[in-house]
C-alpha cells in the first residue's frame, strides 16, 4: 500500500486535538504502519506538542510542526511541504473520525478501473446545544456538516464541493496546483474559509472527485456557533470568499441576489423570532453584503 500522510492543523484547542488523535489511533481496516500523521499548530504555541509527544506511541509516525503565521491555509501548506505520502488526507482538530474513516476515505484511490484523484468524506454534527428551530437543513452546510451529496459512494457533480477538513487527494496533484491559497482560509476570528477552491481548480483540470458517505467524521458544533449572529457572520465571510474566488466573473453578483435592500429597515430589524425561511433569506443577504464589501475594497 502507498504511504498516506494525514495533515491536521490545530489552533489553541488542545482538548479537541487530543480527542481527534485518540480516535485516529484506533482506526480499523487500515495498515497504520503506512500512515504518517502531521500535526501543524497554527498561531501561538499552546501545548499541541505535548499532546503529540504523549500520544506518539500509538502511531507509527506522529510529527509536530509549528506555523507561527496565522491562517489555516498556511498550516495546511506547511504540512503539505513535509508530507512523505503519495496520498494526503486532511482532518481538522474539531473533528472525531469514525473507526473506518480512513479506510473508507482512501479506498476509492485503489479502485480497479478509473481511480479517484480526490475523495471527500461525510461530516456528522456533534451538537453542543440543541439544534435551534431556525436552523433548516439547507443551512447545515454553513457548519461543514451533512454534505449528503449522494447516498452511496459516487463521483461528485459540479456544484458539490469538497470538505477541506475531511478529504484526501493525490499529493502530486495538490503540489502541482500550488497548494492552498494563503489569502483564503480562516485566520482566527474572521470566519473566512474557502481555501477548498483549490480542489475545484484541480477538478476543472479533469481530476475525478468521489464522495464516500461512509468516510465519516463527527464534527463539533459549539454553542456559540448556534446563534444567528454567528451564522450571518459566516455567510458574510462566504460572500467575501465568493468575491475573492469569483470576483472577475460578471455573472456572480446576479447569482447571489437580485433583490433590493431597504437599508434603514434592515438596520432596525431584530434577529429575534425569525422564521427558518427568513433566516435563509438573511443568510443570503449577508452573503451578498460580504460580496459587495469585498469587491468594493472597503474592508
Amino acid at each position: 500500500m502507498s504511504k498516506i500522510s494525514i495533515i491536521i492543523p490545530t489552533f489553541e484547542r488542545g482538548d479537541l486535538l487530543w480527542q481527534c488523535l485518540l480516535a485516529l489511533s484506533g482506526q480499523l481496516r487500515v495498515d497504520m504502519s503506512d500512515v504518517e500523521v502531521i500535526v501543524v499548530e497554527n498561531g501561538p504555541i499552546s501545548g499541541a506538542n505535548e499532546i503529540t509527544n504523549s500520544l506518539s506511541e500509538r502511531f507509527q509516525s506522529l510529527r509536530y510542526f509549528h506555523e507561527g503565521a496565522l491562517g489555516v491555509s498556511r498550516a495546511r501548506n506547511l504540512g503539505l511541504r513535509h508530507a512523505k505520502g503519495e496520498i494526503l488526507a486532511f482532518l481538522d482538530d474539531d473533528e472525531v473520525p469514525e473507526p473506518e474513516w480512513l479506510s473508507e476515505l482512501i479506498r476509492p484511490f485503489f479502485w480497479t478501473g478509473q481511480r479517484a484523484n480526490i475523495v471527500c468524506g461525510e461530516n456528522e454534527p456533534i451538537w453542543h446545544e440543541d439544534r435551534p428551530e431556525w436552523l433548516s437543513d439547507s443551512l447545515l452546510h454553513s457548519y461543514s456538516v451533512c454534505a449528503r451529496w449522494s447516498p452511496d459512494v459516487a463521483a461528485m457533480e459540479s456544484g458539490q464541493w469538497v470538505f477541506e477538513g475531511n478529504c484526501a487527494v493525490e499529493t502530486k496533484l495538490l503540489r502541482n496546483a500550488g497548494g492552498f491559497d494563503e489569502a483564503l482560509g480562516r485566520v482566527s476570528g474572521d470566519l473566512l474559509s474557502g481555501e477548498g477552491i483549490i480542489f475545484e481548480k484541480i477538478r476543472m483540470q479533469g481530476a475525478l472527485a468521489v464522495f464516500n458517505p461512509a468516510a465519516v467524521v463527527r464534527h463539533h458544533i459549539f454553542a456559540e456557533q448556534l446563534t444567528l449572529e454567528w451564522l450571518f457572520r459566516r455567510w458574510f465571510a462566504q460572500g467575501r470568499e465568493d468575491a475573492i474566488n469569483h470576483g472577475d466573473n460578471p455573472e456572480w453578483p446576479a447569482r447571489l441576489s437580485k433583490a433590493t435592500l431597504q437599508l434603514d429597515v434592515f438596520a432596525n430589524q431584530s434577529f429575534d423570532n425569525l422564521t427558518p425561511a427568513q433566516v435563509l433569506k438573511g443568510a443570503q443577504l449577508h452573503r451578498t453584503l460580504g460580496f459587495v464589501a469585498q469587491s468594493q475594497g472597503v474592508l
Binding site: A243, L261, A293
Partner: protein, 304 residues
C-alpha cells in the same frame, strides 16, 4: 502650574508618526506664534517607528520652545494623546496634529476664551482650513470637507456648541484636570496603522453631555494638510464606511443616540460592480453614503 489663577497655563500636545518634515512645519508654526507667555510645555509624542528622525526635529526647536520628546509604543494616536496628557503640567492642554500648521494668531485665539471672565469655557474648539497637497479634484465638493477633517459647519462667529455638535480632535484645548478625570482618550478608538477607524474625539462629546461648556472659535485656525493620496474617491468611500463603523461602535458604548438612517433602497448585486471613479455629483454622494450606512449597519449587527 502658574501662580496667577486668572491666567491659566498651557501645554500643547503633538502626536506624530513617521512624518518629521510635517512635524517640523507644525513646530515652526508654533514657534512663530506671538504672545506665548502662558505657554509652558510643548510635548511631542512619537508613535512611529524607532529612529524615524522625529527626535532630531524636536531637538532643533529646543532653543525656541519649551519642547520635550516622548515615545509611545505600541502605536496608536489615542495612546499617544494620553501619554502627552499624563505629562501635561498645565491648566489647559491643547491638542494639535503633526499634519497641521497653526495660523498667525492661533495661540492667542486659543487662549483668549480661557482668559476671559465672561466665557469661562471648559473646552475651546478651533477650525481647520484645507491645505491641498495636490490639486483639489472637481468631484470633491464642499460637502465632503468634513470627511477630510476641515471646515467645521458652525459659521464665522465664535459661539458655544451643544452636545449634538461634533468636533474634531486636532485643534482643541481642554482643562487638563477635566479630561484627566474623565479617563482621557479611549485607546480602542483612534487611528492606528493603516486603519481608518477614527473617532477618539468622542471624549469631548461625552464631557459636554456631562455638563462641560464647549466654545467654538473659528478664528483659532490651523491649516490641515490634505494628502494627495486621499484625493481619491476610493479613499473617500473607505473613510465613509469606516465612519459608519465608528458611529455604531460609539452607540454600543452608549455615547451616542441611534443614528438617523435615511431611507435608502439599494440593489446590492449592482452595487458590487459600480466603479466609483465613474461617479460624480449626487451619484457619488449617494454611493458613498450607502457605504457609510453599510458600515454602520454591519457593526451594529456585530457582523464586523
Amino acid at each position: 502650574m502658574t501662580l496667577l489663577a486668572e491666567t491659566p497655563s498651557f501645554s500643547i500636545v503633538v502626536p506624530t508618526r513617521n512624518r518629521p518634515q510635517l512635524l517640523h512645519n507644525c513646530l515652526q508654526g508654533i514657534a512663530d506664534q506671538k504672545f506665548c507667555e502662558q505657554l509652558e510645555q510643548v510635548i511631542v509624542v512619537d508613535n512611529g517607528d524607532l529612529m524615524n528622525g522625529t527626535e532630531t526635529v524636536v531637538e532643533r526647536f529646543s532653543a525656541h520652545l519649551p519642547v520635550s520628546y516622548l515615545y509611545a509604543s505600541p502605536p496608536g494616536v489615542s495612546r499617544a494623546r494620553n501619554l502627552g496628557l499624563q505629562h501635561s503640567q498645565s491648566d489647559i492642554t491643547v491638542f494639535i496634529d503633526d499634519d497641521e500648521i497653526p495660523g498667525a494668531n492661533w495661540f492667542s485665539e486659543m487662549s483668549a476664551p480661557f482668559n476671559s471672565d465672561k466665557i469661562r469655557p471648559d473646552i475651546v474648539a478651533g477650525n481647520y482650513s484645507p491645505q491641498w497637497e495636490a490639486q483639489r479634484p472637481k468631484w470633491l465638493t464642499d460637502e465632503y470637507l468634513g470627511v477630510y477633517s476641515v471646515s467645521l459647519p458652525y459659521g464665522d462667529e465664535p459661539r458655544f456648541l451643544s452636545a449634538k455638535d461634533w468636533v474634531l480632535e486636532g485643534n482643541i484645548g481642554v482643562k487638563t484636570d477635566l479630561i484627566k478625570s474623565a479617563g482621557g482618550f479611549d485607546e480602542n478608538l483612534g487611528r492606528h496603522r493603516d486603519s481608518l477607524v477614527s473617532g477618539e474625539g468622542i471624549i469631548y462629546q461625552r464631557l459636554v453631555e456631562a455638563g462641560a461648556k464647549i466654545f467654538y472659535n473659528p478664528k483659532c485656525l490651523v491649516k490641515h494638510l490634505i494628502h494627495a493620496n486621499r484625493l481619491d474617491r476610493k479613499w473617500l468611500q473607505k473613510r465613509m464606511f469606516a465612519s459608519g463603523i465608528t458611529h455604531a461602535a460609539h452607540e454600543k458604548n452608549r455615547h451616542l443616540r441611534d443614528k438617523q438612517i435615511p431611507s435608502v433602497r439599494v440593489n446590492l448585486g449592482a452595487l458590487a460592480r459600480v466603479d466609483i471613479n465613474s461617479l460624480e455629483g449626487d451619484d457619488l454622494l449617494h454611493f458613498v453614503q450607502v457605504f457609510e450606512i453599510m458600515g454602520y449597519v454591519l457593526r451594529k449587527k456585530n457582523i464586523l
